[in-house]
């Protein structure tokens, strides 16, 4: 029963930062606006600095595990955290009260996600998951005097709780069938046995329960409303980090704990993936609000990621990890631009972006790169990611799914091109330029460069994720 608490140092740093922010809320004068953000970012960076010094192994008596995959995902969360906190700094004029808390809860959520990346047991998994979820419920509803955010928060909470109910119900069956909750133990118990009814019910309910976090069929319903209604930085957090967190637990649970039963869930996940692809992409087409559009598109992306899950292979796992990295960069670039634009124009409607190329070439370019990367245009990172996912699907012979994916990729191109069309092909109604400050400019350049670099030189990251994926089963 080794505790090995040093393996939780990154999480502790994040939690400490969060508490520090809570306390500072009481002491810092109202005038020092950016201080919270800077402290949050510094805290995250310190957590990031500790990441390379982590060694691999179990912690907290086997509830947590530190391995290559957890480190990779923690990097993802750290990156998301830094950028989301920066986006909050751009956004914070909209937050009237409890600004420090907003930062603090974001850092809490990130630390929860980092824990999720390391969970090695259904108990720790469930607790971490709910920890993240509760933070996100609060964040989604944070602007308490706004009709839409509170609505978004409540919808998120009720659907989320319902989904948790199914998930925990499913976990209880798996526990009932195996008598253990540790992922490794579950996998061992399921190795080479005929699946019993309990196991099957458990698998079905767990798979379905996991679809909430990644917003896929059938628990996708919350995402358009919440993406649209939540404060924009929270939407970014949901889209980037929360989705990644959802997939890291899918990798841990489906590939890890339920890996021996993969014959039982592959086809099932494939069906979910196919329907998710169809729904998300088709329903995204008529959307007018950019955040809502990304909400639907996020459902579509979940479909692609599930395609790789359905492939249930090392290649699939690697593809998921690569995809999420590009997705994080795409989302960050996009949402930074959305926040800057919203600050200036007060609108998220696609049509209000008309002629953006003239008003702010940089914002337009960032949205261009970000959205097209998500849509999978070459030579951007998202393209390579989608490419790997198709590879994984074809390798396992998931032809129907691959064809659906190919067709929906075209649909995705369509609705993202509509945004591009508005920005580049239309003329602005109000030609006043939109100012972008130096830091934001630098950040956008960095994100865009990262997205392009992942597309033109994917080699190192690919080698890394493929290496990590070797140990996923």
């Amino acid at each position: 029963m080794e505790m090995n608490l040093f393996r939780l140092i990154p999480e502790f740093i994040m939690l400490g930062t969060a508490f520090l922010l809570l306390i500072l809320e009481l002491f810092l004068p109202k005038g020092s606006r950016k201080a919270f953000g800077v402290i949050g970012i510094l805290g995250t960076v310190s957590a990031a600095i500790s990441l390379p010094y982590q060694d691999y192994g179990l912690a907290l008596a086997g509830l947590f595990v530190q391995d290559q995959m957890s480190i990779y995902f923690k990097w993802l969360f750290v990156i998301s955290s830094v950028f989301v906190l920066y986006i909050v700094m751009l956004y914070e004029d909209k937050i009237n009260n409890w600004r420090g808390e907003f930062y603090s809860i974001i850092v809490f959520a990130i630390s929860g996600m980092m824990m999720l990346a390391s969970t090695n047991d259904f108990v720790s998994f469930y607790v971490s998951l709910e920890f993240v979820a509760i933070c996100l419920y609060v964040l989604a509803a944070f602007l308490s005097d706004s009709r839409v955010t509170s609505e978004a928060g409540l919808k998120y909470l009720i659907t989320g709780a319902l989904a948790s109910g199914f998930l925990i119900y499913g976990i209880s069956f798996i526990y009932g069938a195996t008598g253990v909750t540790g992922f490794a133990e579950v996998a061992k118990a399921l190795q080479g046995v005929e699946p019993t009814g309990f196991v099957l019910i458990g698998i079905v309910l767990v798979v379905i329960g996991l679809t909430f976090k990644i917003s896929s069929i059938p628990f996708h319903v919350w995402s358009p409303d919440v993406y649209q209604g939540a404060p924009t930085p929270v939407t970014a957090l949901l889209a980037a980090a929360s989705k990644a967190a959802g997939f890291v637990v899918i990798l841990r649970i489906l590939f890890g704990a339920l890996g021996p039963m993969k014959g039982e869930w592959m086809a099932f996940v494939a069906v979910i993936s196919g329907i998710t692809l169809l729904f998300g992409n088709l329903a995204a087409m008529p959307q007018k609000d950019l955040k809502r559009l990304i909400g639907y598109a996020g459902i579509g992306s979940a479909g692609y990621l599930l395609m790789a899950v359905a492939a249930a292979s090392e290649l699939g796992a690697g593809a998921i990890m690569f995809y999420l990295l590009t997705y994080v960069f795409g989302i960050i670039g996009t949402f930074t631009a959305i926040v800057v634009f919203h600050n200036s124009e007060g609108s998220d409607l696609v049509e209000s972006y008309a002629g953006l190329y003239k008003r702010s070439p940089l914002l337009a370019f960032s949205l261009f790169i970000g959205l097209l990367s998500i849509a999978g245009f070459p030579p951007l990172g998202g393209f390579i990611a989608k490419f790997y996912i198709f590879m994984a699907a074809i390798k396992e012979g998931l032809w129907v799914l691959a064809v659906i994916g190919a067709l929906m990729a075209i649909v995705a191109m369509y609705y993202f091109l509509l945004v591009i069309k508005s920005m580049y092909l239309r003329q602005p109604t109000n030609p006043a330029p939109i100012p972008v400050d130096m830091t934001t400019t630098g950040l956008l350049y960095f994100v865009n460069a990262a997205t392009i670099l992942l597309g033109v030189y994917p080699g190192p990251v690919t080698d890394l994720v493929m290496n990590i994926a070797q140990g996923v089963f």
Binding site: L154, K155, I158, T159, L162, A163, F166, L200, V204, L205, I208, I217, P218, F219, V221, W222, P224, D225, A267, F268, V271, I272, F279, L282, A283, A284, M285, P286, Q287, Y296, V411
Partner: protein
């Protein structure tokens, strides 16, 4: 390499005019005239040598143009009596017409363009004549089409000229459609494009006669187009929209005769082709000759009359080839080149003077234009085939070939055509140069630049027929036989005996027919003892049909062209716009968008709908799971 110079010089002239001297009209004309005369001077020694040695060996020079496995295409020249005769005609008549054009086209805005096009034509025409293989002949075949297009459409602002140019090109294209297919058939049957090699293979009997017949007819399609045989004759009368020297050079003397030349060049094929195929060719020729003569009767435009007479002559030549008298055809080609060029240039001179094409607006021009008048009459006599003018000898050979090959119906047609030809030629001469004065203004004789070529041509039109004088040895037949010998062993069994015969029966019959024709023409148009309007009224239907070119053009324009354009093309366009684009493409896009619109309604904003969706989704997926 001086043979290649024949191609390079006129091409260079065309390019020089286009790129350098375009702005200087006089200089351009000198370049062009100089080029063609230079070509003539190059040809002349060869021609004279050949006259001394009719059994000369053919000389080939070639280089590889395309060289890939399975396809070796050469560009090469062949020099033998046949090509030399044609070279002589083209460069000699060409030179005269170039000189004539300098006067005729004087002051025209497109002077330089005209001469550039003429040089291009000479280049292309020499290419046809020199070609030693099918691909090369086809290449230049198309290029003369281009030159013809440019020159017919010379006055492109005139809608009729623009239309005529297009029509000429397209109708030729239809003929070439068959031509190229024929080339393919032959290529796959023999494995070569080269005439000489192909001839050897065919003479060795390595190709079955069905293939040969097919190939012969397909290749003949090319000649039908270029030499304006029925049913593709419709472009030639319209081609008279071009300047008159062009009509003379291209649409009378040389290019239209290229079809006949090509048939002669590929004589080995026709010698070996089955009889039925040859009869098709002969009858198409005969029918064209007869029909065109009839049509000529109905015309009042001086150039159109000559144009139809050209058609008729071409029909004669083709008929001759069809019955195996290739040599006779070539002989006629040569004499025809001289007298028809003469007639056209004469007509040009008249038009130049009167500024009209309608013969009924001329009359009594002879006193005003003596040189033109005399030469024109000489040309007409040659055309009618009166002893001892050139036309007599050549026509006689054709009729003899027809007669002795046993094609009596064709012989009858030939005689009848000769008679009708005499009628309308008489009409042409009498109405234009004699009778009462109907012209306006003050016509006067053309400048020397124009009359000298007329006189030279007249000399040839009168005397060149003597080359076929049977007493002469070697006479024209010898050369052409030599031709046949060089490219083919010549004229299969059904044609061999038709050559070299002079028959008093044939000569006398045809002469009688011609004189009857002259008499009729004289009676109607000069003496007016028969009112031509009365005849027209009497046979009003027929008359109208003649005036409307037997409705063949109508049929093409209104039924075929309009049918394709209005029906097939429109139907395809309808399919494209409505079915492929609107229904399929936009339909799929629309349906997809509608599905999207429908799907997003499931996100109704109602929390309990969401819960229902979730729970329902779970249940459905469980059912799916069980089913899986």
């Amino acid at each position: 390499m001086d043979i290649w110079a024949l191609l390079i010089i006129p091409l260079a002239a065309a390019l020089i005019i286009t790129f350098i001297t375009r702005k200087h009209a006089e200089l351009s004309s000198y370049v062009s005239v100089g080029a063609v005369i230079l070509c003539f001077l190059i040809v002349l020694p060869y021609f004279l040598t050949m006259l001394g040695n009719p059994h000369m060996e053919h000389i080939e020079q070639s280089f590889l143009w395309i060289d890939i496995p399975g396809l070796m295409v050469e560009m090469g020249t062949i020099i033998d009596p046949l090509s030399l005769i044609m070279l002589f005609i083209v460069t000699f008549v060409g030179s005269l017409i170039h000189i004539y054009s300098r006067g005729y086209m004087h002051g025209d805005k497109g002077y330089a363009r005209f001469f550039a096009s003429l040089s291009l034509f000479i280049f292309s025409m020499l290419g046809i004549v020199l070609a030693n293989n099918f691909i090369m002949i086809f290449v230049f075949w198309e290029l003369v089409g281009l030159a013809s297009y440019l020159l017919i459409g010379f006055y492109f602002e005139k809608p009729s000229a623009a239309d005529a140019a297009k029509k000429a090109f397209l109708v030729n294209r239809i003929g070439d459609f068959g031509f190229i297919l024929g080339i393919f058939v032959l290529y796959y049957a023999t494995g070569t494009f080269n005439f000489v090699k192909m001839a050897h293979i065919i003479q060795a009997g390595q190709v079955d006669s069905g293939t040969l017949g097919l190939a012969a007819l397909l290749i003949f399609c090319g000649a039908v187009g270029k030499s304006a045989q029925f049913p593709l004759h419709v472009w030639l009368p319209d081609a008279m929209e071009g300047p008159t020297p062009v009509s003379a050079l291209i649409h009378a003397a040389t290019m239209v005769a290229a079809g006949v030349y090509m048939l002669a060049r590929t004589g080995f094929l026709y010698a070996a082709a089955p009889h039925e195929a040859m009869m098709v060719i002969a009858y198409i020729g005969g029918f064209t000759a007869f029909m065109a003569a009839l049509l000529a009767l109905g015309q009042n435009d001086i150039k159109k009359i000559i144009a139809y007479s050209t058609l008729s002559s071409l029909g004669y030549m083709v008929m001759s080839v069809g019955v195996g008298g290739t040599g006779a055809g070539m002989f006629y080609l040569m004499t025809h080149a001289f007298f028809k060029a003469l007639l056209f240039l004469g007509a040009g001179s008249v038009i130049h003077a009167c500024h009209t094409n309608n013969i009924w607006e001329m009359g009594k021009l002879y006193p005003k234009m003596k040189i033109t008048g005399v030469t024109f009459i000489l040309g007409s006599l040659a055309m009618m085939g009166i002893f001892p003018f050139s036309g007599f000898w050549s026509k006689d050979e054709i009729l003899a070939s027809t007669f002795f090959s046993g094609n009596y119906p064709l012989f009858a047609i030939g005689i009848l055509t000769a008679m009708i030809t005499a009628i309308f030629m008489t009409k042409l001469v009498t109405v234009t140069f004699f009778g009462e004065k109907r012209y306006h203004g003050h016509p006067h004789e053309s400048p020397f630049g124009m009359t000298i070529p007329l006189m030279v041509l007249a000399v040839f039109a009168v005397f060149v027929g003597l080359a076929g004088f049977p007493g002469l040895d070697p006479n024209f037949g010898t050369f052409v036989a030599a031709v046949a010998g060089s490219t083919a062993a010549h004229a299969g069994e059904h044609g061999a005996h038709a050559e070299h015969h002079f028959s008093y029966f044939v000569a006398i019959t045809s002469t009688i027919a011609v004189f009857i024709g002259i008499a009729i023409g004289w009676t109607i148009y000069s003496k007016k003892s028969i009112d031509n309007n009365a005849i027209a009224a009497r046979f009003s239907g027929f008359h109208k049909a003649l005036q409307n070119r037997l409705y063949i053009d109508h049929f093409y324009d209104r039924v075929l062209v309009a049918g394709i354009y209005n029906n097939i093309a429109r139907v395809f366009n309808f399919i494209e716009v409505n079915i492929i684009i609107h229904f399929a493409i936009n339909g799929i896009a629309y349906t997809t968008r509608q599905i999207g619109k429908g799907l997003r309604l499931t996100i109704s904003g109602q929390l309990q709908h969401y819960a229902f969706a979730m729970v329902g989704g779970v249940l459905v997926l469980m059912v799916i799971y069980v089913l899986l």
